[in-house]
Each structure stands twice: as structure tokens, then as C-alpha cells.
């Protein structure tokens, strides 16, 4: 396979602050269990799917560095660095930047006043089209700047439910026509936009969305998700020929993330990563 993923092993993961409704300092993550969950996922991606996974070392005091999806957005050898909205996470930025610079990426910064949380809020449905969430974490003005930088179309979707604060917590394009999403996370205009752009829509229930099943890694016809989605998602995906791989993400869900949040897509330009969305 040509695509690579970027991940961060949870050496210092934990709940050290509360910046989304999932986090509670009273509900601490089990670091050993988190490590085991992460390694199971990592092993599956490298050993089973034979994907190249690049790693960054976690820095002590930056517990959310494990959620590399928020590092920025990587396309070809271009890396657009995130501007984290919460100061608790802004310390991560320099470490990601150094890593990408060392690997030969050209690193771009958005104006400091544009909040942007990387692939957490920007998901591609094919090579030229992306969907982006805004209002809770990323700013819509950042979308326009990213689209201009990358020369792609970015369609903005307003997120209205603080429990689904990043687009990747409630929206997962399978390909240019199909999408898995939770309607309760979007405003009326965004729902219209989703309808206009995807002829095949799998709507999950609130219960399923809260199981983080939309926060999935899609590799060709593999759907890699947290445990759940029995009611509507599993039958819908099976009907479309997807292999569903469930992983226990209990410790990461305590911080508001699951499988997708733990990876950032890296692709080599001009090769197109087929299947990976």
C-alpha cells in the first residue's frame, strides 16, 4: 500500500484537563489499558493491513498528543499546522511541526487568529473534495485558507452539538458517494449540504454516535471503529460489502476520541491513496 499513517504511542496519556464534554477529571483513564488498546490498533494497522505507520514520541504534559489527527493536515509533502483553540493543546504544535519539518515537509501556518484542528475537522471524500467542520473547534475562515493553499474544494459544515466537537466524531465519508454520519451533530444547512453531496447516506443513531462509531478509519473496504453500531451501522456497512473491525477504545473515549482520532493520514504526492478516505 502507498499510504502511511502518523500516530503517537500513549506514553503520557491521561485526563489532565476538561476541554470537551467527554472529559472529566473524576473519570481518569487507565494508562496501561490505554497502552494495550493503542497497541492492538497499531498492530492491526501494521501487521494485518500492512500499512506504514510513522510515529512521534509523546511529550510529557501533553496528554492529547496521542490524537495525531489534530496535528494538522498533510497532503503530499505539504503540512498545514493546526492552531489549537484550547491553550491546553497548543503546546503540541511545535512538536508536530519539528517532526514534519525533519521529514522534509513544507510546513504552512495559518494566521494565528484562525483556529484549525487539522484532520479532526477536515475529511476528504476523494482526492479533490473535502468536508470540514466548524464553529466548535475550527474556524470557517481557516477552511477557505486551507482550500486555497491545497487547491481543493472544502465544503464547510456547521457543528452544533458540543459532544461532537470535531467533524471526525460524527461524520465519516466512505467514498465520493457514501457517508456515515450522525444528523444530530449538524445544523439544518449542513444537513442539506450532506444530502446534496452524498447520494448514499448512512445515518447512525444518537446511541451509536456516542459509541464513537463514526470516528472510524476507512482503508479500502475496511471500516475500523470503536465497539458499537449494532443497530443501524453494522447492517448498513455489511450490505455495502465492508469488513468491520471493532476495537476497544474505552480509555480514549474518556478523552473524547477513538480510532480515527489516533491517526493522521500521510500521502505521497502525486500518488493518490486509493480507498483511504
Amino acid at each position: 500500500m502507498t499510504q502511511s499513517l502518523f500516530m503517537c504511542a500513549p506514553d503520557y496519556f491521561g485526563i489532565e484537563y476538561e476541554i470537551n464534554p467527554w472529559m472529566s477529571l473524576k473519570r481518569q483513564a487507565d494508562r496501561r489499558l490505554a497502552r494495550a488498546e493503542w497497541e492492538t490498533l497499531h498492530r492491526f494497522l501494521t501487521a494485518e493491513l500492512k500499512l506504514d505507520v510513522q510515529l512521534i514520541r509523546q511529550v510529557s504534559g501533553l496528554p492529547d498528543m496521542v490524537f495525531t489527527a489534530n496535528a494538522g493536515l498533510a497532503r503530499g509533502k505539504t503540512f498545514i499546522a493546526s492552531n489549537f483553540r484550547n491553550k491546553e493543546r497548543s503546546g503540541e504544535a511545535s512538536h508536530y511541526e519539528a517532526w514534519f519539518q525533519e521529514k522534509g515537509y513544507t510546513v504552512y501556518h495559518l494566521p494565528p487568529s484562525y483556529y484549525f484542528e487539522g484532520e479532526g475537522d477536515v475529511l476528504f471524500s476523494d482526492d479533490e473534495n473535502a468536508f470540514a467542520g466548524y464553529l466548535i473547534r475550527s474556524d470557517v475562515t481557516a477552511h477557505a485558507a486551507v482550500a486555497e493553499r491545497l487547491g481543493v474544494r472544502i465544503v464547510s459544515l456547521e457543528l452544533v452539538n458540543p459532544r461532537f466537537y470535531h467533524l471526525d466524531t460524527c461524520f465519516c465519508p466512505l467514498n465520493a458517494d457514501s457517508v456515515v454520519y450522525y444528523p444530530g451533530a449538524f445544523d439544518a444547512y449542513a444537513l442539506e449540504v450532506i444530502k446534496a453531496n452524498f447520494s448514499d447516506r448512512i445515518e447512525v443513531t444518537e446511541r451509536e454516535a456516542e459509541q464513537f462509531v463514526c470516528n472510524a478509519i476507512v482503508i479500502e473496504n475496511h471500516y475500523i471503529q470503536a465497539q458499537g453500531g449494532q443497530e443501524t451501522l453494522r447492517p448498513a456497512l455489511e450490505k455495502r460489502g465492508y469488513h468491520i473491525h471493532e476495537f476497544d477504545m474505552s480509555e480514549f473515549i474518556k478523552a473524547g476520541g477513538a480510532t480515527k482520532c489516533l491517526v493522521l493520514k500521510l500521502t505521497e504526492a502525486p500518488q493518490r491513496a486509493k480507498g483511504y478516505k
Binding site: S113, Y134, T141, H143, R153, V155, S156
Partner: protein, 407 residues
């Protein structure tokens, strides 16, 4: 009415951002006008819209602006201004921002800075480190200067309308010969006292009719009492003032008798010659040649004056600056700290000075010709007051109101 302009760009049509923003605007009863709309030609091309919003009250507009900015509609003036370098001395970059005389701010390096020396019909020069922005006339632009271009990141502060009871408030709308002059002059006097009390400056721009109408003694009393802090005039005011001081005539007419003097038409030329012989006005005062009158009072009371030349001048007097660009430059330097400008009986100099003054300077225009007063008062300033009257009665009344006695 309150209005503001916003810009929005990106994939705003596919994302339904533009309809969302327009819906919000309309739902709140705000009028909008799409000043520009560029739709991307290809799927990946961004689109752009510039929308002007107009609301009946400031609060509604503010609320809507706050909401729609979340959807990417950014007020045009909340972005940094753009600037370009001057390539040739005396030539601004294309699309330079042309200034008004109102208090202006530019956004540079993410913060708002006030433009110094606001003046209409200039450009804004900004330092590379965004520490200084100032109005600069086109003739003073130098190669390498950074000049603000376009309207983005430029904000003009609305001038506060004076309170109703202030003469500048209720009198500014029109100029009429039917105004109750007694009350108006009383208010001007109050304004002068206030400015003097605060240590600010009063500028007088004066024409020779002050001399012709016999107002010199009143004007001298104003100078002596500290109510004239800067004087701008042309050659003629000084010439006729000196003619009167030396010969008792103005344009050859005895002011006390109102009859022409024999060979009186020569008097003003003889006055010019006398001053030129003395080496200038100041020198003539020091030598005891010039012992009374307006110019004498200016010299003896340390009131700085500037005499700007024109093509019809006789002489001129040695102090007259005949290079108009140099005269403008000196005037700019001398108007710093001026709070009130009294412009009396001169169209040419009043317009010239009016163009240099910030809108925050209160302007009082006095002329016998209503057209002149209208022209001067109507400069987009709320703080211009026009009084149609003969000059001498105006100064006489003003001195009475200021309790300066009679001369």
C-alpha cells in the same frame, strides 16, 4: 442608519454559507446589498462575496455581525490594511486610500493604530513595523514609502455630533442671513473662552476686509487678549493693515472719514516698499517703523503668522511665501494643537486651510457673501458654523461678548 461591509470567501455556495448568512441578515430585518459576487468557475475554485449591511439601529447590526462572522463573514475593516511601496517620488501606488479629514484608524500587524494629522485628500503612509501611520500629501510621497491601498483595514471614526445646546450642533445644517447673530456670537465667544482656558489654540484665517471694514482695532484686541494664537493670511491683509498703520487709509480710503485720500491709491504700494526697505514686517516693528495694527500686534505678542502668496499679489511683502507647496507644508506644521479655526472674509485662504484641517477642529466661517459661507461650512463636518455678516460688526460684538472693552 448604521451600516458595515463584510467579506466572505471560500466554497461558500456549496457549503450554503452564503444563503445561511443572507437568511440571518433578512430574518433580523437588516437590508443588504451584495456589492460584489464572484462565483468559482470550477468545482475547486473558491467564491467571494462582499455584502453591505444596513440596519436601523446599531445593536441589531452588531448582533448580526457577531453571528455571521462565525460563518466566515468578516467585516472588511477587521482585516489588516494592504500597503504598497511608492516607486517614484510624488506618485502614490494605484488604488491608494484617499483620506477624509476625519479621525482614521488602520489595522496593521493585527492591531488598530490611529492615523496622525488627519487631512482630506491625502494618502496614508505607514511604517514597516506598524508603529506609525500618518497622512501624507501626494507631493510628499517618497520612493520606498509604504502607502495604504484599498479600503480593507481602514476605519473612519464617525464624528460625534455636538450636543443640541451647542451652537455647532444646531447651526450647522444651513447657512442663512436670518440667523440670530447675537446669540451665535455669544456662543462663539463662549467657545473662544473655553479653548483659551484649556490652553488649546485658536487659528484665525483672515482676509483684507477686516481692514477695509474698520475691524482692525477689534482684531488687535483679540490678539492682545490671547484669543488669536495663529494667523494665516495672504499678502493683502498684511499690506492693507500696514497701509492703515502708516497712512490711516485702506485701499486709499481714510477709514475714520470714509473718503478717499489724495493719491491714496499709491499708499499700499508705499507701505509695501517701506516694509521691504526695513527688511520685513518683524524688522519694521523692531526698528519702530511699524507701530500699530494687526501685524504689529502679532510681532509684539509672539503670535506666529503665515502669509501665503497668490498670483495677483502686489509686492509682495518679504514674509510672503510664494511657493504654495512650501506654504502648505508650513501650515500643516502650524495647525498642530489648533482646536478652533475662525475664517473671516477670505475664500481663497479659508478653503486652502479648510482642506488641511482635521474634522475635529471646529470651524467658524464669517463672510458677507452667503455662497462663500455655505461652501466653507459644507465640508462634511458637523462642527462648522457659518455666519453671514459684515466683518466689523461681528468682531465688535465678539469683543463685547469677550468683555474686551472698546478701542
Amino acid at each position: 442608519m448604521y451600516s458595515d461591509t463584510v467579506e466572505i470567501s471560500g466554497h461558500i455556495i456549496d457549503s450554503l454559507l452564503l444563503p445561511k448568512i443572507l437568511d440571518d441578515i433578512v430574518r433580523n430585518g437588516i437590508d443588504f446589498h451584495i456589492e460584489e459576487l464572484r462565483v468559482g468557475k470550477k468545482r475547486e475554485d473558491p467564491s467571494y462575496a462582499r455584502i453591505r449591511l444596513t440596519a436601523k439601529d446599531a445593536a441589531t447590526l452588531e448582533n448580526v455581525l457577531k453571528r455571521i462572522r462565525h460563518h466566515g463573514a468578516v467585516p472588511v475593516d477587521e482585516q489588516d490594511c494592504a500597503s504598497e511601496r511608492v516607486e517614484k517620488d510624488g506618485v502614490f501606488p494605484d488604488n491608494f486610500y484617499s483620506t477624509t479629514n476625519q479621525q482614521t484608524f488602520i489595522r496593521c500587524g493585527g492591531r488598530w493604530i490611529e492615523v496622525q494629522q488627519p487631512e482630506m485628500d491625502c494618502g496614508i503612509r505607514v511604517s514597516a513595523d506598524c508603529s506609525l501611520a500618518e497622512c501624507v500629501p501626494i507631493s510628499e510621497a517618497r520612493a520606498g514609502d509604504l502607502i495604504v491601498v484599498g479600503h480593507r483595514g481602514v476605519r473612519v471614526a464617525p464624528l460625534e455630533r455636538p450636543a443640541k445646546e451647542d451652537v455647532f450642533g444646531f447651526m450647522s445644517s444651513s447657512v442663512s442671513t436670518e440667523k440670530p447673530k447675537g446669540a451665535v456670537v455669544k456662543d462663539v465667544a463662549r467657545c473662544f473662552q473655553d479653548v483659551r482656558y484649556r490652553g488649546q489654540k485658536i487659528l484665525v484665517v483672515a482676509g483684507p476686509a477686516i481692514v477695509h471694514t474698520g475691524a482692525v482695532p477689534h482684531f488687535v484686541r483679540l490678539i492682545e487678549s490671547g484669543y488669536v494664537n495663529v494667523l494665516f493670511a495672504g499678502n493683502a491683509l498684511a499690506v492693507h493693515d500696514i497701509e492703515y498703520a502708516l497712512y490711516g487709509t485702506s485701499l486709499g480710503v481714510y477709514l475714520d472719514k470714509g473718503i478717499p485720500a489724495e493719491h491714496g491709491h499709491e499708499n499700499h504700494m508705499r507701505a509695501i516698499n517701506t516694509i521691504r526697505k526695513s527688511g520685513g514686517i518683524k524688522s519694521a516693528v523692531e526698528k519702530g517703523v511699524l507701530t500699530r495694527g494687526i501685524m504689529h500686534a502679532c510681532v509684539t505678542h509672539g503670535v506666529p503668522f503665515l502669509l501665503a502668496g497668490s498670483i495677483r499679489d502686489d509686492g509682495p511683502l518679504p514674509e510672503v511665501i510664494t511657493d504654495v507647496i512650501r506654504a502648505q507644508q508650513q501650515m500643516r506644521a502650524m495647525i498642530r494643537g489648533v482646536r478652533v479655526a475662525l475664517m473671516v472674509a477670505t475664500t481663497l485662504h479659508s478653503i486652502a486651510v479648510g482642506n488641511l484641517l482635521p474634522a475635529t477642529v471646529k470651524t467658524i466661517c464669517v463672510d458677507i457673501n452667503p455662497a462663500v459661507v455655505t461652501k466653507l461650512a459644507d465640508r462634511g463636518s458637523f462642527q462648522a458654523l457659518g455666519i453671514v455678516t459684515d466683518v466689523e460688526p461681528f468682531f465688535r460684538e465678539l469683543c463685547e461678548e469677550l468683555r474686551l472693552g472698546s478701542g
